[in-house]
Amino acid sequence: MDKFQTFTGIAAPFDRDNVDTDLIIPARFLKTIKRTGLGKDLFNAIRYNDDGSEKPDFILNKEPYRKAEILISADNFGCGSSREHAPWALKDFGIKVVIAESFADIFYNNSFKNGILLVKLDRKTIEDLLDDAQMGANARLTVDLENQEIARPNGEKVSFELDPFLKECLLEGLDDIALTMARAPQIDDFEGDDRARRPWLYGDAPAA
């Protein structure tokens, strides 16, 4: 995973509660066996007409938001299914940060595993940032993960909370499977104890 670095990017306003993963990427696009290539179908149902042409009113079809790297939304973003295709689609489109009032649990984990930073802020601050995001070419925010700050176009800074482990994983681009594999002796110990405690959970599957 690439390291997360401070950047300044276009922020797109998408003020809508309960943006679900079916809206982010409909199920018919989950047939891929790859992680890439989903960006073109991000928000498919509200982004394209039935004939495949773009809906001109949809925010990500407008300049400069076609190049948005930050998405600003509302409550319970990413609810619904566990499909990691949702963060894959956002990432493939170019979104590096989603700012919202709250996120659904599974989507939250999935996003960080893909280097996407999710920032939780209160409604009042979100409204300020939504205003900033309406500024077209000037809808630019600077995201500084190290200092946990977002700089607004007027120079004002908004700070945000983040779990220190998630922060480190993003900043260092860590592969958490490698981190866990390094703890194999502890896993071995757990299994040894557990096998004595719950022996019925270990062994071969029954024959058909």
Binding site: N18, D20, S81, R83, N110, D163, I177, L179, A184, Q186
Partner: protein
């Protein structure tokens, strides 16, 4: 940790699975069982291949193809190319990594959350994961079961563990008895309506109370299944004699002396007297009526006796916008009686309501009646074994005589990854779990209901109060 402190069911399972706790509170927890399906696993197996890693515990893993499979005759394979590739990829991966697998033509094949319990793979006290948000279903057995993404699938395959933070405890109690015609599905829809679709975020829900205890294992699975629609990654019901009875004798169940040891352990799991919860919600069972959703979020639900709400009555701007958008998408006018909403299709099935008891409940309403002329109705059993059992009981004849299509098992129209999809504008009474825009097909309109309500809607050709059809 004070050992004397009363603990919840969740606390006990969580603490019993801690492999390691970092200074910052991040936990490494052990995973007892991992279910795998074709949609969320290809990239995970590819990751293992690229890094030269193996599956740590094939004996704790079980794979099946369910999302993509057609529900028509499949003896000649899958016609649709991308679906076929995804299923073939799973078939290659399970061979390469030595993972147990139920092939598409095996009668044990079915929806991953139906077959886990059916095989006795799901047991109390376990941690169970799957790359699917409805993994919460397995919590009905007093297991901690939750959905994960593909990166986490890879993590579990490689290490049999997950990096997690502890969830908070929430208890939802439904007191008293459910009235006639009211089911587990109505209860969970009423709960979601009450707590909202984000009400359980960050929590594991324990369902308790007389109405929950009275449910069969199938009913408990229906409730736990939709925990995620209330925002909770996991829902659970404390295991009891009903749970043990359900598991006993199933293929993966412990046998002989190990069975006795297992039951002893399972009996230690229910929450201690005096255990505390971060959030408590209580409903009265007798107050719950058959439910139906009118909008595009599972929280948009009402008793069938209700009327389509008016955005003017919304509590704030954000809700007003959401309601207006939902009404436009659903093609509904405020003030319309829900029982006047005409439907085109009926879907009976899914991991929410594709079990034998669901089929029995629908068949009981359909017996001796006919599906309305303009309605296209289908029933998709949750597994090959559910289908076999239903045929043994003659339920298939009831469905076929009523005018339902009798199909092969799979996820089917719950999410329309196979050819079973709604066309734009089509309106469906569905026993599935999500009424999101486009969920059952682009432009499709979903009304979530119980199996008995789906049967009633099929007969009348409109959303219907099933109580009117009960003798």
């Amino acid at each position: 940790m004070n050992a004397a402190k009363p603990r919840t069911l969740f606390d006990k399972i969580w603490q019993g699975h801690l492999v390691d706790v970092q200074d910052d509170g991040t936990c490494l927890i052990y995973i007892d069982r991992h279910l795998v399906h074709e949609v969320t696993s290809p990239q995970a197996f590819e990751g293992l291949r690229l890094t030269g890693r193996k599956v740590r515990r094939p004996d704790a893993t079980l794979a099946v193809a369910d999302h993509n499979v057609p529900t028509s005759d499949r003896s000649k394979g899958i016609e649709e190319e991308e679906s076929r590739i995804q299923v073939e990829t799973l078939e290659r991966n399970v061979v390469e990594f030595g993972v147990p697998y139920f092939p598409v033509l095996d009668k044990r094949q079915g929806i991953v959350h139906i077959i886990g319990p059916e095989q006795g793979f799901t047991q109390p006290g376990m941690t169970i994961v799957c790359g699917d948000s409805h993994t919460s279903t397995h919590g009905a057995f007093g297991a901690l079961a939750f959905g994960i993404g593909t990166s986490e699938v890879e993590h579990v395959l490689a290490t049999q563990t997950l990096i997690q933070r502890p969830a908070k405890n929430m208890r939802i109690t439904v007191d008293g008895e459910l009235p006639l015609g009211v089911t587990a599905k109505d209860m969970i829809l009423a709960i979601i309506g009450k707590i909202s679709t984000a009400g359980g975020t960050g929590h594991v829900v324990e369902y308790a109370g007389e109405a929950v205890r009275a449910l069969s294992m199938e009913g408990r699975m229906t409730m736990c299944n939709m925990s995620i629609e209330g925002g909770a990654r996991a829902g659970m019901v404390a295991p009891d004699e009903k749970t043990f009875e359900y598991i006993k004798g199933r293929p993966f169940a412990p046998k002989g002396e190990e069975w006795d040891r297992a039951v002893e352990y399972w009996r230690s799991l229910p929450s201690d007297e005096g255990a505390t919860y971060d959030k408590e919600v209580t409903l009265r069972g007798p107050d719950i009526a058959p439910q139906v959703t009118w909008g595009t979020s599972p929280q948009d639900e009402l008793p069938i006796t209700g009327i389509v709400p008016d955005p003017k009555d919304a509590k704030d701007d954000s809700q007003r916008q959401a309601w207006s958008r939902a009404l436009e998408y659903m093609g509904l006018q405020p003030g319309t009686k829900l029982t006047e909403v005409k439907i085109d299709k009926v879907f009976l099935g899914s991991c929410t309501n594709g079990r034998i008891e669901d089929l029995r409940a629908a068949a009981a309403i359909l017996k001796g009646r006919r599906v309305a002329g303009h309605v296209d109705a289908m029933v998709v059993p949750g597994s090959g074994l559910v289908k076999e059992q239903a045929e043994k009981e003659g339920l298939h004849k009831v469905f076929i005589e009523a005018g339902f299509d009798w199909r092969e098992p799979g996820c089917s129209m719950c999410l329309g990854m196979n050819p079973d999809q709604l066309k734009p504008g089509e309106r469906c009474a569905s026993t599935s779990n999500r009424n999101f825009e486009g969920r059952q097909g682009k432009g499709g309109r979903t009304h979530l209901v119980s199996p008995a309500m789906a049967a009633a809607a099929a007969i009348e050709g409109r959303l219907t109060d099933v109580r009117e059809l009960l003798n």
